[in-house]
Subunit: 171 residues, 2 copies
C-alpha cells in the first residue's frame, strides 16, 4: 500500500456534491467537504515540505531519520527502531540508511555482542546538516502558520483529535 495523499486538484463544487448526494443518500455533504479540504491542504503542505527539504538534498524519509537520531541521547539507534518510528518497513529503511551513509550523514556501527545488530549513528556531518536544515525549516514553518493565532491552533489540535478518533470507522 502506498502512502500517497490526495492528488485530486479539482475538489467538488457544492453543486457537484449535491448532485452526488441525490444519487447517494448516505452522502454527508459537510463531512465530505471537510475531509477533502483536509487532505488537500495536508498534501500541499507535504509537497511544500519536500520542496523545502530538497534544496538541502533531503526528502522526508531521510530527514526524519536524522531528526530521530538527534533526539537520542547517544545520537544513535537501530534500523528496526528507526523503521518503526519513521513508519516504513525495515526493507525501506535499509535503502534509506544506504543513501544516508553514502552521503556521510550517518554511519553503520556493527554490534560485537549481538552480531545481528547494527547501530546507526549520526555523524558530525549529519549534525551539521541538521544545523543548516532545521533553522531554515523552522523559519519557513513559522511564516506558514503565522496566520493562525494560538486559539486557532488549539482549536485545530482539538478538531484533529476528534477526527483521528473516527479514522477506524473509515477502514
Amino acid at each position: 500500500m502506498y502512502l500517497i495523499m490526495l492528488q485530486l486538484r479539482d475538489l467538488p463544487t457544492p453543486e457537484v456534491l449535491e448532485k452526488f448526494a441525490e444519487r447517494y443518500p448516505d452522502a454527508d455533504v459537510t463531512a465530505i467537504a471537510s475531509f477533502l479540504h483536509l487532505l488537500r491542504v495536508a498534501t500541499d503542505l507535504s509537497l511544500a515540505l519536500d520542496a523545502c527539504l530538497s534544496k538541502h538534498d533531503l526528502l522526508q524519509g531521510r530527514w526524519w531519520i536524522l531528526i530521530l537520531l538527534m533526539r537520542e541521547e547517544q545520537l544513535c539507534s537501530t534500523p528496526s527502531l528507526l523503521a518503526e518510528k519513521v513508519g516504513v518497513t525495515r526493507a525501506t529503511m535499509t535503502g534509506l540508511i544506504d543513501s544516508l551513509e553514502q552521503s556521510g550523514l550517518v554511519q553503520r556501527v556493527f554490534d560485537k555482542a549481538d552480531r545481528r545488530r547494527v547501530m546507526i549513528k549520526l555523524t558530525e556531518a549529519g549534525q551539521a546538516k541538521l544545523d543548516v536544515v532545521m533553522p531554515d525549516y523552522y523559519r519557513r514553518l513559522r511564516q506558514c502558520m503565522q496566520g493562525l493565532n494560538e486559539s486557532s491552533r488549539a482549536q485545530l489540535q482539538n478538531i484533529l483529535g476528534l477526527i483521528h478518533l473516527g479514522v477506524p470507522a473509515l477502514i
Copy 2:
C-alpha cells in the same frame, strides 16, 4: 517529486520540541505541533481511504478518474483533462486508463475529427462499480466525521483556508 505523506509515527513530545527549540531559536513550538498533527491525521485518513477502496479493487488514482467521469454530463473526458484534474502527469494517466480499461470500467473512444485525441468514457460497468463503492465510502465517511458538529466543521474549513494561504511561505 513524490506525493508521499508524513510517515513519521513518532511525533515529538513537548519535551523533545523544547529541546529542539533551545538549539534552534526559530522554532515555533505550537506551529510545529499543529503542522505535524495535521499531516499525521491526514495521512491516516488517506491510508484508511485506500484500505476502504482496496476492498473494491480500487486505489485513489483509479477511483478519482471514475468520479470525475461521473461528474461529466456525457460521462466522458480526455486523458489530458483528467490528468490535470486528478493531479498526475499525462504519462501516469495513460497507465491508470490502461488499467481501468482492462477492468472494463472505462473505454477509449477515438476521435475521428482530431486523430490525436481520445475520449475516455465511463462504461456501464464503471457506473455500476461507483454505485457500489460510493455508498460504502459515504457511509464510512459519515461515521468517521460524526464526532464533529457543524460548527466544528465550519471552524476547520476556516482554519484550513488560513493554512492554505501560508503554504507558499514554506516552499
